[in-house]
Symmetry: C2
Subunit: 284 residues, 2 copies
């Protein structure tokens, strides 16, 4: 039987001693002069594969380049070493047939190992994707932005909406083990820790580090599942645009190494119990 996403991710994390996920967000405004999209993507992959437990290309950045962008995305994903999982970040949120076509586009056409989903339409955005047993769906639970608070924290008598979303994902994960993960931003450290306490077994995809300056220590401390799977910590612009000159690949390599080193250091501090005196997130 083929490897599940979780098995593939865990092997990649162990082999590289890394929880770093390199985000591929190529923007026409920031590309090095004279470098085309496919060349750029492949060069970033080559430069950072040593440190990246996963890659996360962002669909809309590629679609903004037209059909050629879609081809470049296909070529870039195909260029990722076989032992590194690819998470297609598309933040898609539709139901039934349409969600089924999202699965086809992401898994069959693009060859991704996982996708992201936004859940305003409920679990019907997720279930049509679960027919692909070795693929993963990361569902957005807490985003980094301020206006996201309006909806995600929408309070009922009992709990904010995002707690209920998390509970639904737990239920779904019982039926589909190793296929459901959670996207939670590192800019919401308290909620990240709370979500971990509600969903101890679900893998985390954590954006909001790098340019957005989220809380790495909390991401590391609470990102791990009870089975020991590390979080997928996404950093994009701080790595891929470390330089916008001809040395962009070398700069990305160096930035990738710095990031993975930082994550390892924080991890060692957490394991040694050194981290967090007076800072550790308290859960009510």
């Amino acid at each position: 039987m083929a490897q599940t996403f979780v098995e593939k991710l865990q092997a990649s994390q162990e082999r590289r001693q890394s929880w770093l996920c390199v985000g591929l967000d190529p923007s026409a405004d920031q590309m090095p002069d004279g470098v085309d999209l496919t060349t750029f993507g492949k060069a970033i992959v080559d430069a950072t594969a040593e440190f990246a437990c996963a890659f996360k290309p962002n669909l809309m950045f590629y679609l903004a380049y037209g059909p050629e962008g879609f081809q470049a995305l296909q070529a870039t994903i195909a260029h990722v070493p076989d032992d590194i999982p690819v998470i297609l970040d598309a933040k898609f949120g539709d139901i039934s047939l349409t969600a089924g076509y999202y699965a086809r586009a992401a898994f069959d056409v693009l060859g991704a190992d996982a996708v992201t989903v936004t859940p305003y339409v409920g679990m019907d955005a997720v279930t049509p994707l679960l027919g692909y047993e070795n693929r993963m769906v990361f569902v957005l639970v807490r985003s980094s932005n301020t206006t996201g608070n309006d909806f995600q924290l929408w309070p009922s008598d009992k709990a904010p909406l995002f707690r209920f979303v998390t509970a639904q994902l737990n239920t779904l994960a019982h039926q589909h083990p190793d296929q459901i993960g959670i996207v939670v931003s590192a800019t919401q450290p308290r909620d990240l820790a709370r979500i971990r306490s509600w969903a101890p077994a679900l893998p985390f995809l954590i954006p909001g580090l790098g340019v957005q300056q989220g809380d790495l220590a909390t991401a590391v401390e609470h990102g791990v599942t009870r089975h020991g799977l590390g979080p997928v910590i996404g950093v994009a612009r701080a790595i891929i645009y470390a330089s916008q000159g001809a040395d962009f690949a070398e700069a990305a390599h160096q930035a990738g190494e710095e990031w993975v080193t930082r994550i390892r250091e924080v991890r060692a501090q957490v394991l040694a119990g050194e981290f967090g005196q007076g800072k550790r997130i308290k859960l009510e």
Copy 2:
């Protein structure tokens, strides 16, 4: 100054005496034998342009065909007569830069007049799209599916979440007139009527008719804005797959004519006050 989306839609609705929007959801499983995607799309457009106040291609159906599908989508949109607006249905929901690239892909690359957005991340999914002043953003407020109820009806002390979403859209529409619309399914007639009462000025995009058998009478009665703009009533599979044989275009033409006739009849009944005795939606 160029026409706004609302002006273009209103002119199209008046010229065709139609509120019908033909949804383009081309599925490899249901395509007529030997017809390629671009040929199919153009033939459906030609066959139904007489009746369609708008067209609504569904992004994921096209992406499932790979880069060629994206090209076919571009070609199909370019083939739509200039006086008929095109709504790209992508149910996308991400923030800031990524949402900006959604705008580029939809408006610049594909030439759509409007897009759909899913709002779990709040109004930050919408605002980056509003820089394109003559384009429109339809935000999903109530979807047709059962698990959507879980989140959209999430109750606070005061109101379900979808009421708050509607209020936010009203506020945004004050700053950006003619750029904000609402997606509400015809399978939720009571909520459709409630949303109209909360947002009297916002244009409605109404899926859930056709195969999903939503309530056309309510869509017609409550779909109109206080400025008299009619709803955009989406019907896809019931028209584009009216026949899966070589006569698919003729069958789509006939189905389009039947749908627009039904909508006109119900509209005439509503205007004459004939409709709804004992059935009219009561608002609390």
